[in-house]
């Protein structure tokens, strides 16, 4: 993934971008950003649960991804999350996979 997965560093993923003119930031204030971060983790865990993974906060700076057997990996943002999750899960995390979709739809009711 080279530059796209954060190897080049810098915390400016499009889902939580740095504030600058014209750029959409969901919450500009620190408290709002913390709430947004907590929601992102909760939402991600609904997806990751299908694959036996959990995500938690790491000092409001990064995230910790863990398997049920205790293997963990620290990830910086969503770009780094999915490749790391695929590695830990040992399979692709595909939102177009019919089986993944069916389970999500069933959970949605």
């Amino acid at each position: 993934m080279c530059a796209l997965c954060g190897v080049l560093g810098g915390k400016d993923h499009w889902t939580e971008p740095l504030q600058r003119e014209g750029v959409y930031v969901r919450h500009a204030d620190p408290a709002g950003r913390r709430r947004e971060r907590a929601r992102r983790i909760a939402e991600a865990n609904v997806i990751l649960g299908q694959f036996g993974l959990t995500l938690s906060d790491w000092q409001s700076d990064s995230y910790v991804l863990a398997t049920r057997t205790g293997k963990t990996e620290v990830v910086a943002d969503l770009a780094a999350l999915w490749p790391a999750a695929e590695k830990l899960a040992g399979r692709g995390l595909d939102p177009l996979d019919p089986a993944v979709l069916a389970r999500r739809e069933q959970a949605n009711g």
């Binding site: 014209g22 969901r26 969503l78 999915w82 979709l101 739809e105 949605n108």
Partner: protein, 351 residues
């Protein structure tokens, strides 16, 4: 005194060999409105044909010595832009307000765009501008047939320029125009021979131009939805003249405002797994809790910083998404968006 922008836009001219990139570049350079433009030219191998055909190379020009198509260009491109930046900062060259890169004919535009968006130094001073693709009306159809790079260049472009239409058969021009409209319906298409074509307008009016971005975004969807309707119609008629392009565009719209967090997770997950096949995503989103729309714009896995538009471009306030993708099932993408973003009763912690 002219000031440098906080984020200098970097624009790209791409197009197949002999498709008229340099001619277009020279027209742009002749435009007084683009006088404050630094130009980067990618020499191809040792021949440097593109260089020889440039009429005027001033001190703002840096020649990239490598014709390499992928990662190695990144380092040279980053170094070239950083050199320009440093010279501008020191006052050694006139202040430029945009950069224009002419890529080699064989180049995949993505590594160039990635360099600007992701390189640690550049991303704080530069932003992506627009991608302009030239397509030769005489040879364009066969290049699109045979060369995947040609299809990719046309698919990722923000502006399409048909060249040599004055020497091509009118029917051939029309077939090519129709094919390009299907391949990339959201990019405005112009003819290079059009005397009224304003070269400066090609790289103005981008998404970060606060005055123009609503118009720009509105155009994405007007053409994409018209083309999608046309495609469905033609599909049912089994139109024999249609090319079986592996790349095609599809668009869909949803009434309900969406959850930004869920959308971010879904799109990043989708691009991680299918980014190679998704050449472009453009979205105008009605986000829960926001009056004005949010525009998102991705080239493969590279997602531009989302922009908050000042207002809706029309009375239509639906969330709209356009995909330009290779071999992706539209119905499955739509179903996935619904399952992960729209219908999220599986999710706890809604606000």
């Amino acid at each position: 005194m002219v000031e440098a922008p906080a984020f200098t836009p970097v624009n790209l001219i791409t197009g197949f060999l002999g498709s008229g990139k340099t001619t277009l570049l020279n027209r742009m350079r002749a435009s007084p409105r683009l006088a404050d433009t630094a130009v980067l030219i990618n020499e191809f191998g040792e021949i440097g044909l593109d260089h020889e055909l440039i009429e005027r190379i001033d001190e703002n020009t840096v020649l990239l010595q490598s014709g390499c198509l992928c990662c190695t260009i990144r380092g040279e491109l980053a170094d070239a832009v950083k050199t320009l930046h440093s010279r501008r900062e020191r006052g050694e060259i006139p202040i430029y307000r945009r950069i224009l890169i002419e890529s080699t004919g064989l180049a995949d535009p993505l590594p160039i765009l990635t360099t600007i968006a992701a390189e640690p130094t550049l991303r704080h001073h530069y932003r992506l501008g627009l991608v302009v693709a030239t397509i030769d009306a005489v040879n364009g159809m066969s290049q699109l047939d045979r060369q995947p790079e040609s299809r990719k260049q046309a698919a990722v472009a923000d502006r399409l320029i048909l060249t040599k239409t004055d020497i091509a058969a009118p029917a051939e021009v029309e077939r090519l125009r129709a094919r390009l409209s299907r391949l990339n319906p959201s990019a405005p298409l112009s003819y290079a021979v059009d005397r009224d074509l304003d070269p400066s307008a090609l790289i103005g009016n981008d998404l970060f131009d606060l005055d123009a971005k609503s118009r720009e975004v509105a155009h994405w969807f007007d053409e994409a939805f018209a083309e999608a309707a046309d495609h469905d119609h033609a599909h049912h008629r089994h139109d024999p003249n249609r090319h079986g392009d592996d790349i095609r565009a599809f668009a869909f719209a949803f009434d309900a405002p969406i959850d930004w967090t869920a959308f971010g997770l879904w799109l990043s997950m989708l691009l991680n797994r299918h980014g190679e096949r998704i050449l472009r995503v453009k979205g105008l989103l009605s986000v829960e809790g926001e009056e004005a729309p949010v525009a998102v714009h991705a080239v493969q896995q590279l997602v531009h910083a989302p922009t908050h538009l000042p207002r809706w471009p029309s009375a239509d306030r639906r969330t709209r998404l356009v995909f330009i993708a290779r071999g992706l099932d539209e119905a499955v993408v739509r179903r996935s968006f619904a399952a992960f973003v729209l219908d999220r009763s599986a999710t706890s912690g809604r606000h």
